[in-house]
Symmetry: C2
Subunit: 219 residues, 2 copies
Amino acid sequence: MINISQEDYLTTIYRNLDDAGEIKPNLLAVKLEISNAAVTDMLRKLSRDGFVNYQKYKSIKLTSEGESYAKNMLRRHRIWEVFLHQSLGMPWDKVHEEAEKLEHSSSDELINLLEEFLEYPEVDPHGFPIPDKNGKIKKSKSVVAITELDENDIAKVIRVNDDVKNLLSYVTKIGISLGKEIFITDKLEYDGSVLMMIDKKEVNISNKIASNIFVEKIK
Amino acid sequence: MINISQEDYLTTIYRNLDDAGEIKPNLLAVKLEISNAAVTDMLRKLSRDGFVNYQKYKSIKLTSEGESYAKNMLRRHRIWEVFLHQSLGMPWDKVHEEAEKLEHSSSDELINLLEEFLEYPEVDPHGFPIPDKNGKIKKSKSVVAITELDENDIAKVIRVNDDVKNLLSYVTKIGISLGKEIFITDKLEYDGSVLMMIDKKEVNISNKIASNIFVEKIK
DNA sequence: TTATAAGTTTAAGCACACTTAAATTTATAA
DNA sequence: TTATAAATTTAAGTGTGCTTAAACTTATAA
């Protein structure tokens, strides 16, 4: 049987896979805020149990079993987030933390009942799609990070990463929420920061923050 | 900081205190399904941290801090049970198990929001009162176990213990649910079993089961 | 009252998920 | 190409909550 710690490894791996579907142990250690040595230890166990493909000094891949497990955790997480935000009125910058605890403590039956209760939501409060019972994730509109936009582009906010510390509360402060329209007024070559209009106010955000906000280009 | 295991100790102690407000280590070991040695170990830690009064070879008492903590866990547990049963339609003989996991994974803020969402329920699906934010438990009507009833008594079911394995599903099978009226037709001196009418059907239950069902005497 | 049973503690040890430090391998930049 | 830095693994060790076995204390029943 898999435990809470292992569940955290699997979701963290899944959330941070690169374009090749791989992740390096060091990144995992950084994200989990533990030592590299601990990661090596656990990877051997997860490999032994068939959740990851692991070879010494190589990048890690999830097995199909590992991927299913991770996607189910994501499903649990996002359904809880919808409940917390939609039913209980918890602000969107608080739900991630609570859901991280709840996702480990709920049976699939409970999650299915909750999904029904919430009338089968398609996205979580940060705009991320919710995998269905079979792990299928609905293809969403083609979205890009704000960093990909050009001057004079108009776009609508579709998704904001929820697993970056304090990002959501900061982003909320400068007036960004899902569905909001932004107009790019300038892009600084120097540091990659972006200048834009939100609700008729000019706002400057760093490249790093811009890379965590995903939008649908309108014009 | 207190962990899941310690939370389980505190709630199990609280649920099983005797009339003198004490519990013996052995009973705790039985209820937690672990060895006596493990209990001794943990009691020293809980004592060191101020949650229980513990002296070698003596019965255990909760400190006021320990009692508050336990009552808050009970509050979490019962509020979750109401949600699972009332909002999600989970049967009353399934909610205890789910709530036992959830109670360790929810902040007080979440529980308070949930309580508001559920419109401040007074009892859980098994008839047990829900402590308020301050740990106050509403005095309920005077209830007695079925074992205390006499022949020809009529009574209404108010509470059924939820922490006895398989009791609820058994009790459900024989037609007992909250609010149901029962009529005592006979009591067997020999084994303490009780014969009664439920929905015009005669049912015999053992003394042990009768001792877990609490009723309000009508006549 | 005492023999025996039951309950409790102590001691030694285990699995787990971590740590730091040192050794080794791989990546990077001069 | 090679020196150095970064990443990874190995080794040794820690705290936690558990185990079994043995020692000890308390309760119970003849």
